[in-house]
Structures are given as structure tokens and as C-alpha cells.
């Protein structure tokens, strides 16, 4: 690990690279500076439709209503990453270290606080900065902390229940989104009356899925398989 590997690039190439990167930086800067001073963005539309979006925070409205499809796919990416990591079968890749007393007590202290913060962020997302991802990552941090402290998921839960929790976000999005088609609507088209409630549902399941996925990613291998091996 002491080898940074920098010296494998010959000087000539490195000089060429510097020149090219400078050119690129100049070009990028020029492009940015040439942009119109007035943003031609979509804020007008976003604000126009905020009343029927079910939330008052425009960012959340974009994320979970206007472009909820992106969010859906992105939950898919997270799940996929987990599948990928599990498929690598990296059991034993990570060093197991027993937690010290400080970490142990800190985790006992911090985890409840993190759960509370996460809940707040989830709720605040409707009208202020916050939302499922922020909440999910805080909750995920709590999970990581627990893992560091030596906690492992109960063997009985490591199989199907864990998997259900992991796919919860994607599954609920797909299911509800598809159900919304039935009365003659489009995929993920929320009727304004139910929009607020649906978004809260989505945010909740997304938070859970994200948190558990992040924790599982940190663990690095399928706990079910890990037990088996």
C-alpha cells in the first residue's frame, strides 16, 4: 500500500496530460461563464404546480412527484449495488475488529439520537430541506455504528425478512405506481388529493430501504451466506 503508483506514468505523458487538462479546464470555465445570467430553469413550473404536488418543499416535489420516476430508478440502483456486492461474495474481505469500550458506549448513546434525527428529517422533508435520502442516510449511519459495535442481524431475520426490507422501496414504488394506472392514470401519477399521503408512504419505505441497504453495503456480504460459510 506504500506504493502510490504515481511514478508509473512517464514524465512526457504527464506533461501532455497537464496541457490537455489545462485546455479542458479553460474550456469548461469558458462554457460556464458563457451561460446566460438568468437561469432558464424549471423553477417557474415547479412552483406553479406545487399546490397539487402534495408537498410544499419544491425539491421534495421534484424528487417524489414530478420526477418520481428518477427516484424510483435510483432506488433500483441502490438495490442493484447491493446485489452486486453480494454477488462478489466478499465474505471475509473485511477485517473484523472487536469494538473498544468507547465505541460500545458511544453507539448506545448515539443510535437513539440518530433514529430520532432521521425521523425528524423524514417529516421535515415535506416543507423544508430534508426527506427520504437524508433520513435514510442518517438511519444508515446508525446501522453502521451498530455494526462497528459488533451487532449482527439475528439469523432468523437474515433471510427473507432482510431481503423484503431491502426491496421495500423499489417494490412499493413499483406496486403503487402501477396501481395508479388502473383508474386510468399514468405510471406514478398521484391524484392531488392523495399526493401528500402517498409521498409520505414512499418517503417512509424509501428511508427504511435506504438505511438498511447502506448498512448492508457496509457489511459487504449476504449475512445469510456469511452464516453458511
Amino acid at each position: 500500500m506504500n506504493n502510490t503508483g504515481e511514478n508509473t506514468i512517464p514524465l512526457s505523458l504527464r506533461l501532455l496530460l497537464m496541457v490537455l487538462l489545462t485546455v479542458m479546464a479553460v474550456g469548461l470555465a469558458y462554457a460556464v461563464l458563457s451561460l446566460p445570467a438568468q437561469a432558464p430553469g424549471l423553477s417557474v413550473y415547479a412552483v406553479e404546480n406545487i399546490n397539487i404536488s402534495g408537498v410544499s418543499n419544491p425539491v421534495t416535489a421534484v424528487l417524489l412527484n414530478y420526477r418520481a420516476y428518477d427516484t424510483f430508478l435510483e432506488l433500483g440502483v441502490l438495490l442493484l449495488a447491493l446485489l452486486g456486492v453480494w454477488s462478489l461474495g466478499c465474505a471475509g474481505c473485511q477485517h473484523q475488529s472487536s469494538p473498544g469500550p468507547v465505541l460500545d458506549s458511544l453507539s448506545r448513546l448515539l443510535v437513539p439520537i440518530l433514529i430520532m434525527v432521521s425521523g425528524y428529517l423524514l417529516w421535515a422533508g415535506a416543507h423544508a430541506p430534508g426527506g427520504a435520502f437524508q433520513a435514510g442516510s442518517v438511519l444508515g449511519a446508525a446501522g453502521v455504528l451498530l455494526l462497528l459495535a459488533g451487532w449482527r442481524i439475528h439469523a432468523g431475520l437474515a433471510g427473507l425478512p432482510l431481503r423484503i426490507a431491502l426491496v421495500l422501496g423499489v417494490a412499493v414504488f413499483a406496486l403503487v405506481g402501477a396501481v395508479l394506472i388502473l383508474p386510468g392514470g399514468q405510471l406514478l401519477a398521484f391524484p392531488p388529493a392523495y399526493a401528500g399521503g402517498l409521498i409520505l408512504l414512499f418517503e417512509t419505505v424509501a428511508t427504511l430501504s435506504i438505511a438498511i441497504s447502506l448498512t448492508a453495503l457496509f457489511l459487504g456480504a449476504d449475512p445469510d451466506e456469511e452464516d453458511a460459510s
Binding site: T8, I9, L21, L28, L33, V59, R67, D70, V77
Partner: protein
Amino acid sequence: MSYIFLYALVGMGLFTLGLYALIIHAHLLRKILAINIMGSGVFLVLVALAARTEGAAPDPVPHAMVITGIVVAVSATALALALMLRVRSETGRAELDEEPLSKFDD
């Protein structure tokens, strides 16, 4: 010219620097970090320019894009790190398997 553009320029700078590091460093961890820095540069550009209209509220759409982007980046990084660990356990070193480039520089 708004100070907002300065943020955007910094984002571009991060993008460039990340690219440099991605090319120069052999260790995979550094490469992965470099990719993340490049990503941060892009996100910074997206977010900063969203607020460039003076007096108006920032455009929410790029914000949402960045949040999506961050989750994607996190997922990709997680996979990359796991893969790196596997490469290291399989080959003994966390580098792409190649001869040093200087061998061809004559």
C-alpha cells in the same frame, strides 16, 4: 458576474483535478476517490448554477438531480470498493493489472 459562478468554476476545477488523479494514481482506492471528486465537481456545478438568477429562489430541479446523483454515486462507490477488496484478495494488490506505462515510453 455573480459570485455563484465562482462555485461553478470550483466545481469545474474539482472535475479536472479528479480526472488528473484518476489517470495518475495507480492504487484503486485513489482512483475511486478521484471518481468521487469528479462527481462532486459535477454536482457542485449543477447546484451552484441553479441559484444564479439573482433575487429568485434557486431552481429545485437540479437539487433533486444532485440528490439522485449522490445516491447513484454512493451505490457505485460501494460496488467499486467491494470489487477493489475482491481484486486485492485475488491478486494481492489493489491495482489494475498492467505493466508500468514507462515501459512503452522510448
